[in-house]
Amino acid sequence: MTSKNGILLPQKSKITRRDTLKGLGVVAAGLAAGPGFVRYAQAQSSAPIKIGFQAHRTGIGAAYGRWYERTTAAAAKAINDAGGINGRQIEIVTEDDGTDPKRGAEVVEKFANQHKVDVVYGTLFSHVVVGSAPAAGELKMPYYVVSEGYHVASGKMNRYCFQPGITDVRAQTRAVGPFIANNVGKKVTMLYPDYAFGFDHRDYFPANFEANGGKVVGMVPIPPTETSFTRYFPQIPADTDVIYHVMVGPAVLTFVKELGEFYGSGGPKLFGFIDSLEAVDITSPGLEFLDGSYFWEGMPRYLQPDASDAVKAYRTAVGINENGAAVGDPKDVSTAAHMFGCWETLYVIKQAMEAAGYQGPQDRAKLVEATEALTDFPEGPEHPQGAKTFNGKIHQVFGSQYISQLKNGKLNVVHKTSIEDGMYEPEADYTTQPL
């Protein structure tokens, strides 16, 4: 629903799957009512648009999956309340992929052949995206992921795979470089897990940072199986101004605690990616050493004093409080830095379907071309995280990043990067591939 001032105003603070379904129940009842069914079967124009949601409901991604599901339900409700897409309601069909690439591919097939969805959407974990994209390409199924991996922009996926609702890790690491060089410190030592996730940071951060006068003085890769870190800290050069850390996994809290014990009250400044502590209460015991440190956030977890009405409406719709935790369940901290991508991706699908005059699966190629033709997403109710630029050749969106400082138990935004800060030279062109 859109109010007079153009802001989405959800009616309820907590959206459940059922709320989405209630609306659909009306559609389903119509479908079952004989004459209506015949009409839909003939024209399909009033039947719901089916969006296959490839969800991490079980497996390693389940904690993220819960919030992706809540955000998806909230966005679907908001879209349906405002009239749906091309006058048709949308129906979210959820399939669990077990956060497993093989099942991911099976789920895409099931969406295409069994559920006959119009598009597939919502995948987060990179290996599932990489495992599912070939199936989507082969079945000519538009596949909109919310993964933040560089794999889409790299050109290694295919014409049917898009990432229009969240920036990729390459852009994120590039974008924070100037701020660190100009405001935090010139000499950076990077501590990162010694595998692909860490390599993205190792490979993509230095260029823009050093172009802005900074210098990476140390690289400390840490084996992913490590659970105690103190013996790595002596490798951090003494002249380091800033420690750039991107540790992930269950041992992150131990990492922070040991770093605090190593440096005591002094030491270099800290810059981290909130990925490390996504869905974790930042005021937890053991994290005191992070006070004063800086974090990248895809979207602020804590409600900022200058938050726009669009941001407030989004947060209310998804059901998070001023601390970024579930309304009514303050210990259930959301994955705020990533889940907005679900909301925005669904609105991109809406925009592209409307641009393509999408009627049904026969229009999937038109939908792909219409998505590729998108260029700008203005900040607002549909894109509360901020304005974005879409590159149709590499199927990747670019946007602002937030840098927040942890003070008094809250992450306060101190800088919002420009979209250009994260831009890099495209290395692919999907539009040359046949449809």
Partner: protein
């Protein structure tokens, strides 16, 4: 189409392997991260000491006094009316509804009631309830009522008899299949897949009951009847000889049991091994052993073969160590005797350990998925219904999140593990007396098993506190 499907899956896995280098995994700190900050090492030492000291204290006490205490029964009611048929028919009706929901309801395993009721309410919850309140499964068994109805229409009783040499091995085989499905199969929570498997399981067992009789079939073949029958021996509540409800000390019924046959001994060992392997298979240690980066666990499809082997290896290892301890105990006590009988007596002592680990291992899943289940049963077919008024229930995922919850959960887990092992030591003590018939030799015979229990306490607490990949 099928051929094309296989092609797509193959290319998907190949692509996932090829492009693994572009990955941006998001393994998050999660609840185990908070457990890592707790002084779990002290708990492990303390737990091991508590179990060791329990053994020492029991060794000094006369086992006969313990045996007498275990034999105590307090009669709570008169004979209870036998309404098994009615309850079972109602249970069967619920099963049918759930199976229908599995096929026709939501595709989301956290919205469809079948996986939530089966895995969370039934497998996790009912097992605990049976351990606490007695064999509720005897009533809820969804075969008994239909079997009574159908077999009543047949001219005579069961036409066939189960061959005695089969022992309980069919139940061992079925339970191994179940454990594999739960721990290794690609999608045990997929509603349709689960409905298919459970539907076939019900039909096959129903046919078996018609052919061989319900009593024999549930005693030696249908693995959940066997499992719940064993677990119920831990409960303070039980059925007296005349069908009345009586009270006993926790675990006392297990301590008073006759030796289990060899096949049933293996059944119990398998039950404990399976839940232990579920814990082990998620640890950094196991994943590293497989050469998998625990921070980017690639999904079950990547570990089908090694986890199948691991499950069997865990079973074999536990059985090997257990029999070695029993053999050594008999040797130390100067008993030649019957190893199978000794093992059949001592294996009862593993029962409380299996139940304690079941509780500790599944506690968070019970709390979270139980809430999803509450919401799902009100709208089983995802049609916007609200049968029980819980359809809009907002799952409080914070119940297990954060530092405080981690502390509470860890303490509950540690308490359960230690209590389970102490009870195990006590049961072993009574059974050792039965085996040896003499106080001093009983303590000696039990000694290696007590050492195993100290070791298993350490293992159990370690599994619950070590870093896990997922």
């Amino acid at each position: 189409m099928a051929g094309r499907g296989r092609g797509i899956r193959r290319s998907a896995v190949a692509a996932a392997t090829l492009f693994a280098g572009t990955s941006a995994a998001l393994a998050h700190a999660g609840d185990r991260g908070f457990v890592l900050l707790l002084p779990t090492g002290y708990y492990i030492i303390g737990g091991a000491l508590a179990v060791a000291v329990s053994f020492a204290v029991l060794a000094l006490l006369p086992a006969s006094a313990l045996a007498r205490a275990a034999g105590w029964r307090g009669r709570l009611t008169g004979p209870l009316p036998d309404s098994r048929t009615i309850v079972s028919l109602a249970s069967f009706a619920v099963v049918c509804c759930l199976l229908y929901a599995g096929f026709a309801g939501s595709r989301d395993p956290l919205s469809n009631p079948l996986p939530l009721v089966f895995w969370t309410v039934w497998w996790i919850g009912l097992t605990l309830a049976v351990g606490l309140f007695g064999n509720l499964w005897r009533w809820l068994d969804p075969w008994y009522g239909p079997w009574r109805l159908v077999s009543g229409m047949l001219p005579r009783g069961a036409p066939l008899a189960l061959p005695a040499p089969l022992g309980w091995w069919p139940a061992v085989a079925l339970f191994l299949g179940f454990a594999w499905f739960e721990l290794v199969d690609l999608a045990p929570e997929d509603p349709q897949r689960l409905a298919t498997v459970l539907g076939l399981y019900w039909l096959a067992n129903f046919a078996g009951m018609l052919l061989f009789g319900h009593a024999e079939w549930t005693r030696r073949v249908e693995c959940f009847s066997v499992f719940f029958g064993l677990v119920s021996r831990l409960s303070p509540l039980g059925r007296g000889r005349d069908g009345s409800l009586d009270l006993a000390l926790p675990g006392a019924r297990a301590a008073g049991q006759e030796p289990l046959p060899l096949s049933a001994t293996f059944f119990l060992l398998l039950a404990l091994a399976a839940v232990s392997f579920d814990g082990l298979s998620r640890t950094f240690v196991w994943l590293s052993l497989l050469g998998i980066n625990p921070l980017e666990f690639p999904g079950r499809s990547a570990v089908l073969a090694p986890n199948t082997a691991g499950l069997i290896a865990a079973f074999a290892a536990l059985a090997g160590v257990f029999f070695a301890c029993v053999w050594l105990g008999c040797r130390l006590a100067g008993m030649g005797g019957d190893l199978v009988r000794a093992a059949g007596l001592f294996v009862w002592s593993l029962l409380p350990i299996a139940l304690a680990y079941h509780f500790a291992h599944y506690l968070t899943a019970l709390v979270i998925n139980g809430q999803y289940g509450l919401a799902a049963i009100s709208d089983p077919l995802s049609r916007g219904w609200n049968l029980f008024g819980t359809a809009g229930y907002h799952v409080l995922a914070g119940a297990t999140a954060g530092h405080e919850s981690a502390w509470v959960i860890w303490n509950l887990q540690a308490a359960a593990i230690v209590a389970g092992h102490v009870l195990g030591v006590a049961i072993a003590h009574v059974q050792a007396l039965r085996l040896t018939g003499e106080e001093r030799r009983a303590a000696v015979a039990e000694f290696p098993l007590a050492a195993l229990m100290v070791g298993y306490t350490v293992l159990g607490l370690w599994l619950l506190s070590t870093p896990t990949g997922y």
